[in-house]
């Protein structure tokens, strides 16, 4: 399982997970395939790797051959969100053209652990308009690790799983100077992308720099309707450096600056005038540590996010308002591995301190009245200290992974006005509280000839998020309710079962995977009819509460068929269901979905034809603002070719998405905003050798 840390992921791991939509059509391309065939991947598999045991998925962003970036995706310079969307496990809630919110196992931000290189970072928007994935870009990243359920507990407490965004590093490869320029454009939203990187690396020292700029206008839905306020503009730059103090001691540092301006959110009543992040870290890595401990890594990090929502561009609002938010996090982790006989241990200490503050100022239409002001996040300080341990035990032909996380988490409502605000609802509320979090997981893997069997059982819990515990009149435009937190919520706890079988039959490989979450004290907002709405036009007020329990299950079938050496077909179907103790449907549960891709590769030419779609969403719940989302099917086509000019590599890729200009929206589209219609794109990458 630690393979991934040391080397680029191997191809089977990245692709061998799902699908078989035989009934549904053909088509599909394995996302990472171009480079894996046309080049010799520099897979540095860790020598000590035991059998692959986790259900992780790895989404590759930069290629093995580093000079040509981002050609793994069918649309190389697409946003990080689109890379995530190509994942088999991750869905994305869309509120517009930018900053989509990842969904894993039908669970979102507060039930996931989303990290950048293991660093905890928390969005500053009370309305979840700035998931962490919006503060990095494909230019920064080498790959994304997706882990389900308690398999993702390594970086923090989670219920649904973890997404770790791994930064790209030259890592002391003796490459010297390497530079590249990439540019791309799309017709539908007139988007322009330009990016470049300049890296220097030798065996003693490396420094990587990159920059990317994106600007997009409103996009047009299928049928030609323009989606107003779906524009965005962002740039991102990062610097990464490493110095080898001695042969087994490395000092690394990284810094990312990300800023988005003028981001429209067509599904929401407000836009964002500024979303800015500073993300920095310093780490010390040492191959040998005390005694038999190895691979000691210690990282200190800090990040600061400013997020400013405003409605100044909207022509018609009942009342003008500003909603700025800030989130600062400081943290550390220190980990080491230990190998004893057939055991491989990983021990990790980690902690973070977060400060979340958000406010809301409303400007009355009567100019003689004073501004209305409230704290929507009352300067909540979260302090978390945790211990994580795992042991992978290798038996012959099978392996067992045990892991646990124990953590203490404290909340402190630091702002007196904010505390008094909450005490309107909870007169006895304490300013501080402490919670204990725990996670235990066991996972067994067995290999029978070429068949892999996996099964796991785990238990985990999480504390309420800042919004769930301390949010004050947060408006949710999806169900049109104001939300109020409850500081006395119990921790949410989940028992999780998962299983997977993957069977290769000659050129056909299929794997069936399923998981089940029995979540006790499931946290969800419920209407309190006694409360008066704050937001003009809202239907009511919901207060977060613990449901007795909720059940979620996800099943997927992933198939891959190597038709000829040039043609590969992959298919994926998945089914999801989520209900509470009364059989009531939970929100944002995917309907039956399918994905099918046919890919052709020969020499330096590649092409893919993709079909994806979903059935009618029959299990929806109007109480959470949902309605029935109709079935859809969309097709995409892409063609790529690489060639050389003066010994420099050039890669050109072009294609069309939503070929038949279908007007559709999915269950994850906030307030049913339609998806993009037909879109032509082209990207050119030029690598200077």
């Amino acid at each position: 399982m630690k393979t991934i840390l040391n080397g680029r992921p191997s191809r089977p791991k990245a692709t061998g997970l799902k699908g078989k939509s035989l009934l549904l059509a053909v088509l599909c391309a394995v996302v990472f395939h171009w480079q894996s065939i046309s080049q010799e991947p520099r897979v540095i598999m860790a020598k000590d790797s035991i059998l692959p045991i986790d259900l992780n998925e790895v989404i590759v962003i930069s290629s093995y051959k580093r000079t040509l970036e981002h050609n793994s995706h069918h649309k190389p310079l697409s946003t990080l969100d689109q890379y995530l969307e190509s994942s088999k496990k991750v869905n994305l809630i869309k509120r517009g053209g930018y900053a989509w919110e990842p969904v894993l196992n039908d669970m979102t931000t507060e039930r996931l652990s989303v990290t950048i290189d293991g660093m905890r970072i928390f969005g500053a928007c009370t309305d979840r308009m700035d998931p962490i994935t919006s503060y990095v870009d494909v230019s920064n990243l080498s790959d994304i690790h997706v882990a389900c359920g308690q398999q993702g507990a390594e970086h923090g407490a989670t219920i649904g799983g973890a997404i770790d965004l791994r930064l790209e590093k030259s890592n002391f490869r003796p490459d010297g100077w390497v530079g590249s320029i990439e540019t791309g454009g799309e017709t539908n939203n007139a988007s322009q992308i330009i990016g470049g990187e300049l890296n220097y690396s030798d065996e003693k020292f490396y420094v990587d720099t990159d920059i990317i700029y994106r600007k997009a206008e409103n996009y047009v839905a299928g049928g030609g309707e323009e989606v107003a306020f779906s524009q965005f503009e962002k740039y991102n730059l990062s610097v990464n450096a490493g110095y080898k103090v001695s042969e087994d001691q490395k000092l690394l540092a990284s810094f990312i600056f990300d800023e988005a301006r003028d981001v429209g959110y067509p599904a929401l009543p407000m836009d964002v005038s500024l979303a800015r992040a500073f993300i920095g870290s310093v780490s010390w890595i040492q191959t040998d540590f005390m005694g038999d401990f190895k691979n000691w890594e210690t990282k200190l990090y800090a990040n600061s996010i400013t997020h400013i929502m405003d409605d100044s561009q909207r022509p018609d609002v009942p009342i003008r308002m500003d909603m700025p938010g800030w989130s600062d996090t400081y943290g550390y982790f220190s980990q080491a591995t230990l190998k004893r006989n057939n055991h491989q241990f990983l021990l990790k200490l980690d902690g973070f301190y977060n400060r979340s503050l958000a406010e809301m100022t409303m400007y009355p239409n009567n100019p003689n009245e004073r501004e209305m002001f409230m704290l929507t996040w009352p300067n909540v300080r979260t302090l978390n200290n945790g211990f994580y341990a795992e042991d992978v035990i290798d038996f012959k032909g099978s392996s067992l992974k045990l892991s646990t996380r124990l953590a203490v988490q404290g909340f402190n409502v630091a702002d007196e006005m904010g505390l008094n605000s909450l005490r309107i609802f909870y007169p006895e509320m304490a300013q501080r509280q402490t919670r204990f979090l725990k996670s235990f997981s066991a996972r067994y893997h067995k290999k029978l000839k070429s068949v892999h069997l996996d099964g796991g059982l785990s238990y985990g819990d999480r504390a309420p998020s800042v919004s769930e515990g301390f949010g004050f009149y947060l408006f949710n435009s999806f169900d049109n309710h104001d939300y109020v937190g409850d500081p006395d919520l119990r921790n949410e706890k989940a028992i999780e079962l998962n299983t997977k079988i993957s069977v290769p039959i000659k050129k056909l490989n299929f794997s069936l995977e399923g998981n089940y979450f029995h979540t006790m004290d499931f946290i969800v907002g419920e209407v309190n009819p006694a409360l008066s709405v704050m937001t003009i036009g809202a239907e009511g007020v919901k207060v977060y509460k613990n449901l007795e329990h909720a059940n979620l299950y996800n099943i997927s079938l992933d198939t891959k068929y190597q038709i000829t050496p040039e043609f590969v077909w992959t298919g994926l179907v998945s089914y999801h269901r989520g209900t509470d103790q009364d059989g009531r449907n939970l929100p944002f549960i995917s309907p039956f979905t399918y994905n099918s891709m046919l890919q052709y590769t020969q020499g330096k030419f590649s092409g893919s034809l993709t079909m994806r779609g979903a059935a009618d969403q029959v299990n929806f719940n109007p109480e959470f603002g949902e309605d029935r989302t109709d079935a859809y099917t969309v097709f995409s086509l892409s063609l790529g070719k690489s060639f050389s000019i003066n010994n420099d590599d050039v890669y050109v890729k072009t294609g069309v998405e939503n070929i038949f200009d279908e007007f559709y929206s999915t269950y994850t589209d906030w307030n049913n905003i339609p998806r993009m219609g037909r879109n032509f794109f082209m990207t050119v990458s030029y690598a200077i050798n």
Binding site: M362, P364, N366, M372, M374, M417, I424, L531, V533
Partner: protein
């Protein structure tokens, strides 16, 4: 040489001065500080060789509830009089009639030279109509009288903190909000209620009930949770309750007055159709 001499002398003198001050801390007579220094003197009534000083937390005599502090200065001895007995009666001189207002007795405070009372002015003065404060006080067995015009103004922010109305029982009432410093929190909220028996008599009304419904008209007329209606507290002789304010800004506190039989004397419920009660207070912060 001379310079050094001066310097030494100066140093010596300074040192001795400082030490003197330190040593003689207790014996020095402390000049009496004004116990009302934090308040504003609104008026000094000159009569009978006395100066009767009226202090308030506010900058003016304001319509609504006024807590007033009184001191009597003997102009001859330049000292403040202790243990006087004071009574007062503010009278509004209108063009066609005269009337008084609800007021408390004037009582002594912990400081024997400071007296305290409250008065609830229902209306401001204007060019033709004015308030006059009649004072009667007894010092050492001798009774004096003084009368002075005072200027009662509407509050600076123009917000309504007192209401004079005719109840459904054909009685005229004066309801005034007690001064408060509003915060985004659950605030203590109090009011005083009087009925107008005649032009000069305003007895306090006990054991009624005042229902409150705070709203923000500037923002969809939303309300707030966990308010407590005002009930009569015999100890403080006020109606006390709790007022929740969920944000800063302009709040209209809609009121309903109920008598001891729970009959509504004044005020209406706020509904979709009825934006506000006819009986209300206002707060802006």
């Amino acid at each position: 040489m001379k310079t050094i001499k001066y310097l030494v002398t100066t140093l010596f003198l300074t040192a001795s001065f400082i030490s003197c001050t330190d040593d003689s801390d207790d014996p020095i007579p402390i000049v009496e500080e004004n116990p009302l220094a934090e308040y504003t003197m609104l008026k000094a009534v000159k009569a009978n060789n006395h100066s009767i000083e009226l202090y308030s937390e506010q900058e003016q005599f304001t319509i609504g509830y006024n807590e007033l502090f009184i001191r009597i200065k003997d102009e001859a001895s330049e000292s403040y009089v202790s243990d006087a007995n004071i009574s007062w009666n503010p009278v509004m001189h209108m063009t066609e009639m005269m009337h008084s207002c609800p007021k408390s007795e004037v009582s002594k405070t912990e400081n024997a030279s400071v007296y305290k009372g409250s008065s609830i002015f229902q209306m401001p003065g204007n060019a033709d109509e004015y308030w006059e404060l009649n004072l009667e006080y007894t010092i050492a067995g001798q009774t004096y009288n003084a009368t002075e015009r005072i200027e009662v103004k509407a509050p600076v922010d123009g917000k309504k903190r007192v209401s004079v109305f005719m109840g459904t029982d054909e009685t005229r009432y004066v309801l005034a909000m007690m001064p408060m410093k509003p915060e985004v929190a659950v605030n203590d909220f109090s009011a005083v209620l009087f009925k107008m028996e005649n032009m000069m008599t305003f007895p306090a009304v006990e054991d009624y009930k005042i229902m409150i419904d705070p709203r923000m008209p500037g923002m969809g007329n939303h309300g707030s949770p966990n308010n407590e209606d005002l009930t009569y507290d015999p100890a403080s002789k006020m109606y006390n309750g709790k007022l929740s304010l969920t944000m800063t800004g302009y709040w209209k506190i809609n009121l309903k007055l109920l008598n001891d039989n729970d009959e509504v004397l004044k005020g209406e419920d706020v509904t979709e159709e009825n934006e506000a009660s006819s009986l209300f207070f206002e707060i802006e912060f």
